[in-house]
């Protein structure tokens, strides 16, 4: 057998023949699961009647969504199009105690109004829409997660001619007004929907197309308006707190024309428009309204709405939990594995056994690699089982308690479990490297705990302000905890994306790469020292 494999086998024999280490591995497996289960014990169901689990609706992709808006709609056949001109989008937000809100009719940046084709009027039903927004220009969105901004040329042509090039960007993002209206059109061809926009109703620019598989022959096409919650972030000495309140947006539409309506008698179309407040709750219902009048140029409407059409973010806000909540005990298992990883070598330094080890394998790089492989494999196995158990057990416990758990794709769950195991493996190897550098167990454990666990706890507990927490989770090895995030950050959804809400500043594998970098650095230094130092 290759002498590296022999050394790996010897190191494995060492690990399994010290009872303290074996016990520590068991503890590292059990404790995170127990912590995970304990942490969800306090959860209550989201106020659903009975024992039924209820939560936010889910979109076509299975993700939790917010789907609340005012919809003035008609039935649309398999082929047709809906065109409308928007001559205004204004906003209104109620007074939040302690803030100056309430007055100006400025819409929320992500207030939306436009034309939509939707499978039906159920929450979460598939849709495609072209819209104007309060501050992000004209966009085409579909099925909650897809978002395309209108090309610059299409939105700026009038701005350039009317207001001059210097106001280009501002007018492109600004909501339409009576002086600068905006035309929107959605064309259906089977399950393909094409969105277009025009400054004048003559020159059209295509924004994009969306395919809605399984869109029934008769779908709902219409005008919609909605406006997301307004959030005030209050900074104070010990962190930040956010206060949110509902808002309302009002859009005026005219020149509305629908072709390809499902009902044969299109001349009586005026009477066929219906208003549905989708996802109505007492608050949004009070904010919703629509009025209609017919003009020779087409139908004209005023539609007010409140809510959002977007993937759900900040799940905890509405009493739901995310799957990774069961992994809050990971840090405890990590600490134990860090102790194992460092003492796997510092125990040898303490007794002089390192000489016996190096006499058995004088090639020090191979010895280091073998030791790293063994602690990494042990930590990975423990982490994999612990994470999988935590996830499954907490999910079923939450389900039994009637708490809604935000759905996560199977791929994301696998990534969370494997990533957690990898996180633990890398941390254990990091500790091994620190143990070689410092030759003292206490010092190595302290250093690694301070580098990995401390930043993580400070960041997710909300002890640091969001900016500080984000910074810490970008540069320290704790960045790797990002691999546990299943909630998704959407640039097209306003929300508080703070580490304390489960949003990490780095993408899952980018965070893991930061830990990898640190591990490579420390193990590389350990190798350099080990090679030169007298044993």
């Amino acid at each position: 057998m290759n002498d590296f494999l022999l050394t790996v086998r010897a190191e494995w024999t060492k690990l399994r023949t010290v009872r303290g280490w074996v016990l520590a591995l068991v503890v590292a497996l059990v404790v995170p699961v127990v912590i995970g289960l304990t942490s969800v014990n306090g959860s209550r169901s989201g106020g659903c009647p009975g024992a039924e689990v209820c939560g936010p609706p889910t979109g076509p992709g299975g993700e939790a969504v917010t789907d609340a808006f005012t919809f003035v709609h008609r039935s649309l056949g398999p082929h047709g199009s809906l065109t409308a001109r928007i001559t205004g989008l204004t906003g209104q937000r109620p007074r939040i105690p302690g803030s100056g809100g309430g007055g100006a009719p400025v819409p929320q940046a992500w207030a939306k109004a436009g034309v939509m084709v939707k499978e039906d009027t159920e929450q979460g039903a598939a849709y495609a829409a072209v819209m104007v927004t309060g501050g992000h220009g004209v966009r085409m969105q579909s099925d909650f997660t897809h978002d395309t901004a209108a090309p610059k040329a299409g939105t700026s042509s009038t701005a350039a001619s009317s207001a001059g090039a210097h106001s280009d960007a501002a007018s492109a993002a600004a909501p339409p007004t009576a002086a600068a209206p905006r035309w929107l059109r959605l064309t259906r061809a089977g399950s393909t929907l094409t969105g277009a926009t025009s400054p004048d109703g003559t020159h059209w620019t295509t924004i994009g197309t969306a395919t809605l598989p399984g869109l029934p022959a008769t779908a709902q096409a219409g005008l919609f308006t909605t406006s997301p919650e307004h959030t005030e972030v209050d900074r104070h000495a010990l962190g930040e707190s956010a206060t949110s309140g509902p808002t309302r947006a009002t859009a005026t539409f005219d020149r509305v024309t629908l072709s390809g309506a499902a009902t044969a008698n299109s001349t009586e179309s005026g009477g066929l428009w219906r208003t549905t407040v989708i996802g109505a709750d007492p608050v949004t219902a009070a904010f919703s309204a629509s009025s209609q009048r017919s003009t020779p140029a087409g139908e004209s409407f005023t539609v007010s709405g409140s809510g959002d059409i977007a993937p759900a973010v900040g799940g905890r806000a509405f009493g739901a939990r995310s799957v990774e909540d069961g992994l809050v005990g990971t840090f405890a298992g990590l600490l134990v594995l860090v102790v194992v990883g460092s003492s796997f070598v510092t125990a040898e330094y303490r007794r002089g056994l390192i000489r016996g080890t190096l006499a058995a394998q004088p090639r020090r790089g191979r010895l280091l690699a073998a030791k790293a492989l063994v602690v990494a494999a042990a930590a990975f196995a423990v982490g994999l089982v612990a994470a999988a158990l935590s996830l499954k057990l907490t999910a079923s416990r939450l389900h039994a308690k009637g708490v809604y758990v935000l759905p996560a794709a199977t791929g994301a769950e696998v990534r969370v479990v494997v990533g957690t195991a990898l996180l633990l493996a890398l941390a254990a190897v990091l500790a091994l490297g620190a143990g070689i550098l410092l030759r003292r167990g206490a010092g190595a454990v302290t250093a690694v705990a301070a580098a990995v666990v401390l930043p993580y706890i400070l960041a997710i507990s909300g002890a640091l302000p969001v900016a500080g927490a984000d910074w810490v989770l970008r540069v320290t090895p704790a960045a790797a905890f990002a691999v546990q995030q299943t909630t998704v950050r959407y640039s097209q959804v306003a929300g508080v994306y703070a580490p304390s809400d489960g949003y990490f500043p780095l993408a899952p594998w980018a965070g893991m790469a930061v830990l990898c970098g640190w591990t490579v650095l420390v193990v590389g230094a350990a190798y350099a020292v080990l090679r030169r130092r007298d044993a």
């Binding site: 022999l6 086998r9 190191e11 060492k14 010290v18 007794r351 000489r355 016996g356 004088p362 007298d534």
Partner: protein, 323 residues
């Protein structure tokens, strides 16, 4: 002899201002036990660590069978070493301590049980090594050294902490190992421990070799200048006779002479031939310890190995040259 045993050449190593090794050089040949003797701090342990590739010498080479330790594959099958009996993890069972070493060399578990038997630890192999006495740890360390059935064995102070029974056992074991044709190097700061075991000694002091010789020659050299105590009824007459024979006799008390320059046998022969009566002839047989003390005293009084140059023999063809 470069291909068999250990060859140490011109090792120098400094720790700050102190020279731990200052031209250390010797060879360990097969089929015999070589004592590696010197006072504490003479560089014995440092030399052994350099031989095992644990410490790096500033200068010089240490080869096992012609190769540096770090280039050996499965090194414990070439050289078995006991450096520090305390170097074990206390919570690991004795057998497992040997098992991981066996795994690292591709040696089977059966061999582990064999060496446990050979060092007499069979009944305690399942106990945690942390509970072992120093003597038991020495036996465990010796078992580890034997694990790979190596041609070279190197042990640092293996007699430490052993009870008299253990010392007798170890002497027998070392002789047996040499008898099997292995090269055996045993360090000690007590020459007497090696009296009936080593047939060759490398005496070191201050990081270099002071003497590299067979035990027989070392004893002969030490005895060569020895004195004989003579009791005679007529000491003046005896002194005259011995003086004429080339010896020097000085009074050492009433009716007692201390004679030098003649062996006890010569004295008896001369006195008998001349008809001088005597009642006792007592030769001071030099012990290994005497010889060693003389050598190490010389080594501190004179620098270098020149003081004992005449005792250097075939065992070390190149030794001491750097001194």
């Amino acid at each position: 002899m470069g291909e068999v045993g250990v060859a140490v050449r011109g090792l120098h190593k400094r720790y700050g201002p102190t020279a731990a090794l200052d031209g250390m050089g010797f060879s360990v040949g097969p089929g015999r036990v070589t004592g590696f003797v010197g006072p504490n701090g003479a560089g014995k342990s440092t030399t052994m660590r350099v031989v095992l590739g644990l410490d790096t010498a500033d200068e010089g080479t240490a080869l096992i069978g012609g190769l540096p330790y770090r280039s050996l594959r499965r090194p414990m099958t070439h050289i078995g070493a006991l450096l520090d009996a305390a170097a074990l993890q206390p919570s690991r069972r004795a057998r497992n301590h040997l098992l991981w070493m066996a795994r690292s060399q591709g040696i089977g578990a059966r061999r582990v049980d064999e060496v446990i038997d050979r060092v007499g630890l069979a009944t305690v192999a399942g106990r945690r090594a942390g509970g072992f006495s120093l003597g038991m740890r020495q036996r465990l360390g010796i078992a580890a050294a034997l694990l790979g059935d190596p041609g070279v064995l190197m042990m640092d102070e293996p007699f430490n902490g052993m009870d008299p029974e253990g010392i007798i056992w170890l002497r027998g074991l070392l002789r047996a190992l040499a008898g099997e044709g292995r090269a055996v190097l045993i360090s000690s700061h007590l020459m007497s421990e090696l009296q009936d075991t080593a047939t060759h000694v490398v005496v070191v002091g201050r990081g270099r070799v002071v003497a590299d010789t067979s035990v027989a020659e070392l004893l002969a050299a030490a005895s060569a200048g020895g004195r004989v105590t003579l009791r005679a009824a007529q000491p003046e007459r005896a002194a005259t006779v011995l003086g004429a024979a080339g010896g020097t006799a000085v009074p050492a008390g009433p009716g007692t002479l201390s004679v030098s320059g003649l062996s006890a046998e010569d004295i008896v022969a001369h006195l008998t031939r001349q008809g001088v009566p005597f009642s006792e002839v007592a030769a001071h047989r030099a012990t290994l310890e005497d010889a060693y003390l003389r050598l190490t005293r010389d080594a501190t009084e004179f620098t270098g190995a020149d003081a004992v140059g005449g005792t250097r023999t075939s065992g070390g063809t190149e030794t001491g040259e750097r001194a």
